[in-house]
């Protein structure tokens, strides 16, 4: 289920924790699995749990608790916009509206071509840089004006 490369990355995480605490690596391991497979299927979660010698349901608890894990397929580009109050004061909600209109989808929807998924985000600890868009969980785009958003979408091939 998981590639050698992913397992190697997991091993590196496991090594950060005391010997009897392999489970500590589950969050990172689920991130790697999601990176590799695009989303976390039940089999992916079970594979991670198995690799870390933990009950599958315990891994599922983790995967379902933290909201950057995707328990269903998402588009190639998952864009998460923070709309929390500090961001909203500087256009966070308007940026989200702009994206919705531009992509023709609402929050938690994926474009028909499977390219984009839009998510509403909670505070990302970047309120001073509003509007903020997190791309595929990992790249944060700040000060997103309409032009910047157009540019970002254009760059998503």
């Amino acid at each position: 289920m998981l590639s050698e490369t992913t397992l190697k990355k997991i091993d590196r995480e496991v090594a950060k924790y005391p010997e009897a605490q392999k489970q500590s690596a589950v969050m990172a391991a689920l991130v790697f699995a999601q990176d590799e497979l695009g989303w976390l299927s039940k089999d992916a979660i079970a594979a991670v749990a198995d690799y870390l010698d933990m009950p599958a349901i315990a891994a599922f608890e983790v995967a379902s608790f933290y909201n950057m894990y995707d328990l269903a397929p998402v588009g190639k580009y998952k864009l998460t916009v923070c709309t929390n109050l500090p961001c909203a004061l500087s256009g966070g909600v308007h940026a989200a509206d702009y994206l919705k209109q531009k992509l023709g989808i609402d929050f938690n929807e994926t474009t028909a071509d499977g390219k984009f998924t839009l998510k509403e985000g909670e505070c990302m600890g970047a309120c001073g840089d509003a509007p903020v868009i997190l791309a595929n969980n990992k790249r944060m785009h700040c000060f997103m004006t309409p032009e910047e958003i157009d540019k970002l979408i254009g760059e998503c091939k």
Binding site: V62, Y66, L85, P86, L89, G91, E122, C127, A130
Partner: protein, 453 residues
């Protein structure tokens, strides 16, 4: 002391200029050599070379009256002194979960000064006798998580981490742990659960982490900024640090200013700096509009109306006296284009969304609160709703395992205390006192390139 001299020189000290461009240009001063050029790791060397005892280190931190920068403002030195001396296995944990709306200072510390955090954590580990540490970095700043890993590699290679650090016979391993989207993990015991590879559900306290922490072992957990302040304390002495601020409020502090100001950003100023001064540093009110309200310490702090806020100085005591709290130092500035009902609705949604679901009042209550405020905002409020909000709040606050329950209630109490009439207007007229086009004018999304004052 003049304002600019007061700034912690070990931090790259540039972002307080507030400019987006500046931050992009200076994004590469985080490496070990840059940090050392600013005088980094001198404090650690001094402590080890002069063979300061752990008690002496803790005493110095106590003297500085550094109060925890994570929100509760608990004196850091005192916290360290709670660690049992004899325990064989102890941990140091840094809280970089930073999810409290309005707060974005730890991200900049991670970005510009990862080594200040590392040095602070090493000193803390030395003081409390911990052999291992973790920095818990929230998932949204994955790029900085990776940067921190690089910084750790540098520190390891330079002998600041690992076995027999600087030949002083002291061992300490430090690792980064990533979060993945859960505000509650900022709560210290939820964070420990999360490092253990579980859901981030807070633990009942007592026992406190100093006795039963990570993996059941004694653990000291501090905020990123708290750790990053430590090297500076040993640079200028505990007393020097205290004197930068004001009594009972030692040192300088980073304030994250967001909202309707011209230059949102992080500003480091001495404790006790007038709010008016901070507002001025942040470029003043956007478009010259009138200040309406300020949340002075992160979303969980009760809102204060403009007049009260303009009389406050930025320190724990002054803000508390005004009926709010300094919290994480996140200053959310709202001008007259703001609809307070909509503002509170969004915050209430946040607490509802982020409740861990463990304890009844928070799990069930946060949703109920949000639904009521949502109704009010959407013209379906009932006259009895405002009192219902307050009595429900009373049934949540102080009844939960962790302080998220209180955090969900405090904003409601604050907004209703100072802006009740606007809520009543909403209920009665089924619309907002602030017309929609005025609200829209507050946003700069369509009109201006942000970050350039």
């Amino acid at each position: 002391m003049a304002l600019l001299e007061a700034i912690n020189p070990l931090l790259s000290a540039g972002w307080q200029k507030g400019g987006h461009e500046w931050r992009l240009e200076n994004d590469n001063g985080w490496r070990l050599k840059d940090y050392e050029a600013r005088g980094g790791y001198q404090s650690l060397k001094k402590i080890l070379e002069t063979k300061m005892s752990s008690d002496e280190v803790i005493a110095e931190v106590k003297k500085s009256v550094l109060r925890g920068r994570g929100g509760a403002g608990f004196p850091t030195g005192l916290k360290w002194s709670f660690m049992p001396k004899a325990a064989p296995e102890k941990y140091i944990v840094c809280n970089t979960d930073e999810g409290e709306p309005g707060t974005f200072k730890d991200r900049d510390i991670q970005r510009f000064d990862p080594h200040a955090i590392i040095e602070g954590m090493i000193i803390a580990a030395y003081a409390v006798g911990a052999g291992r540490g973790y920095n818990y970095i929230h998932g949204e700043i994955y790029e900085l998580y990776q940067r921190f890993e690089d910084a750790l590699d540098e520190a390891r290679a330079a002998g600041f981490l690992g076995q027999n650090i600087l030949g002083a016979g002291f061992n300490f391993e430090l690792f980064a742990h990533q979060g993945w989207g859960a505000y509650i993990c900022g709560e210290e015991s939820a964070l420990l659960e999360s490092i253990e590879g579980k859901k981030g559900q807070p633990r009942f306290k007592p026992p406190f982490p100093a006795n039963v922490g990570l993996y059941g072992k004694p653990t000291t957990i501090n905020n990123t900024e708290s750790f990053a302040s430590i090297p500076f304390i040993f640079r200028i002495g505990g007393e020097g640090f205290l004197n930068l601020g004001k009594p009972n409020n030692g040192g300088t502090k980073l304030y994250s200013v967001s909202g309707h100001v011209n230059r949102p950003g992080n500003y480091e100023v001495p404790m006790g700096t007038p709010f008016a001064k901070l507002l001025e540093m942040a470029g003043g009110m956007r478009g010259g509009r009138k200040l309406k309200a300020v949340i002075p310490g992160g979303s969980s702090a009760p809102v204060l109306p403009a007049d009260i806020m303009m009389d406050c100085t930025m320190d724990y005591d002054s803000i508390a006296k005004a009926g709010s709290m300094l919290g994480s130092g996140a200053v959310i500035v709202m001008d007259e284009t703001t609809c307070v009902v909509k503002a509170l609705e969004r915050l209430s949604y946040f607490y509802y969304e982020e409740s861990c679901g463990q304890c009844t009042p928070c799990r069930e209550g946060t949703g109920w609160l949000y639904k009521i405020i949502h109704r009010i905002e959407h013209g379906q409020g009932r006259p009895e709703d405002l009192d219902l909000l307050l009595t429900l709040g009373g049934n949540i606050a102080g009844r939960t395992i962790c302080a998220l329950g209180d955090a969900a209630v405090l904003p409601i109490q604050g907004f209703l205390r100072h802006f009740r009439s606007e809520f009543e207007y909403h209920i009665e007229n089924k619309k907002c006192l602030v017309p929609p086009d005025v609200q829209r004018a507050g946003s700069t999304f369509f009109t201006r390139n942000m970050g350039q004052a």
